[in-house]
């Protein structure tokens, strides 16, 4: 049992810097370790919006995985800032996509519990990386 390995498909994210903003430790850890297994460089994770914004100013990032409700604060301002900077954005939320404001549509929206394989494909698609076969 202890030898359990994730069955998430191999997607090559080598060279990508991904900022993760998520207030739940276990979800953040799952997202980060999944991204790292695919060779992405993780920035963060940030557990609140202030820290997320700070990391965004400090580091060049290729993509952001963004929770919607962080300790009761809604992340749409940060999302709008990302749109302005043309930084690809993937929402990961327990909310229904119906609450996305029109100004932020269309955005990639993954519902929790997050399908980690879908997240990897979303990061890859959002950053326009050419597909490359990777053997497990």
């Amino acid at each position: 049992m202890a030898k359990h390995r994730s069955t998430v498909a191999a997607v090559d994210l080598n060279g990508l810097r991904v900022l993760v903003v998520e207030d739940d430790y276990f979800i953040a850890d799952e997202i980060c370790s999944t991204l790292r297994r695919c060779e992405a460089e993780v920035v963060g994770p940030a557990s609140d919006l202030q820290r997320g914004m700070q990391l965004l100013h400090e580091a060049q990032v290729d993509c952001v995985v963004l929770d919607v409700n962080l300790h009761g604060e809604i992340s749409f301002d940060l999302a709008a800032e990302l749109k302005r900077r043309n930084v690809p954005l993937i929402f990961a939320s327990g909310y229904d996509a119906g609450m996305l404001p029109e100004a932020l549509a269309p955005s990639v929206w993954l519902e929790k519990p997050i399908d980690l394989a879908a997240l990897l494909y979303a990061v890859k698609a959002a950053t326009h990386r050419p597909a490359r076969a990777v053997l497990p």
């Binding site: 049992m1 202890a2 276990f26 009761g72 327990g94 909310y95 229904d96 609450m99």
Partner: protein
């Protein structure tokens, strides 16, 4: 006669008078306007009789308008509540999935996996039940402690429990409850609650320094003769204490296996993330 109108609309009723159901600001009001635009002449009996009918009609119309607005607000509130409860439900499911993954990674056998998983989901479910009852008021830390001990058949006289009232919000309550669960299970297996002597003391206090109020929570075991047989690998409990609590709630934590038993401290900021507003501010104001 046309008794129902919407805000701002002037409803003609008789040739003598008209009634407006709301003023320009949208506030509910009844205005009577004489049709000739003058109110210098005292109204005739006929006019006053008509006024009685008009008043009644206007009151009914206002009442319908209010009902319609209430219904509109109720629908919007219902929509928000659906969003929020769906959000909460999905978060709990995500938490369960994380617990399953973590338990699977550390379990040595399918039996151990099932045993630990059931116990952890039990602890989470007890907290959910309490949260549903108390709502936004928050869960008393003492209730979390006693509930967890009772669920594991630990009697009150086996532990010293003391501390002031602190009400924890949902996330803090869930994480603290699971932490207490892991500490209790560990203590039952290897520590002061394993029946080999020793005491467990669970105490907490509140205080504030400069701009922040905090709760210092301590789980101290003493007089445990063979604490060294306890597994030293980092399990789910230590991950909760050393990673989850600092990451999610900015807690300062410490977990030590001393020769006398487990010493665990959780120094938790009392703010809007962890407790409800009145408690956070009351603690700061009183300077305790």
């Amino acid at each position: 006669m046309q008794p129902v109108g919407h805000a701002g609309q002037i409803v003609a009723t008789t040739t003598m008078a008209s009634v407006s159901l709301a003023d320009a600001t949208g506030a509910h009001a009844i205005h009577f306007l004489w049709s000739d635009g003058r109110d210098l002449e005292p109204p005739s009996h006929r006019t006053l009789d008509a006024l009685c009918v008009l008043s009644a009609a206007a009151a009914v119309a206002l009442r319908r308008l209010q009902d319609a607005e209430d219904a509109g607000r109720a629908i919007e509130r219902g929509r928000q509540e659906t969003f929020e409860s769906q959000h909460r439900f999905r978060n709990v499911l995500s938490f369960v999935r994380s617990i399953v993954r973590r338990t699977m990674q550390s379990a040595e056998s399918p039996e151990e996996f099932a045993l630990h998983l059931e116990a952890r989901i039990g602890a989470l479910s007890r907290t959910q039940t309490t949260l549903n009852v108390v709502g936004t008021a928050g869960v008393e830390i003492e209730d979390l402690v006693r509930t967890e001990l009772r669920a594991n058949a630990i009697r009150d006289e086996q532990v010293d429990i003391a501390g002031p009232s602190v009400r924890l919000r949902a996330r803090a309550a869930e994480t603290m409850a699971l932490t207490l669960h892991e500490l209790a299970i560990n203590s039952l297996k290897y520590g002061a609650l394993s029946g080999r002597g020793g005491r467990t003391s669970i105490e907490w206090s509140t205080g504030s320094s400069r701009d922040a109020s905090r709760m210092q929570f301590r789980w101290f075991e003493s007089g445990v003769p063979i604490a060294s047989t306890a597994p030293r690998h980092r399990g789910f409990g230590r991950e909760l204490i050393e990673n989850t609590l600092p990451y999610e709630l900015d807690a300062l934590t410490r977990f030590e296996l001393t020769p006398g038993g487990v010493h665990c401290t959780v120094d938790l900021p009392l703010n809007l993330r962890t407790t409800n507003a009145s408690v956070a501010f009351a603690a700061t104001a009183s300077g305790r």
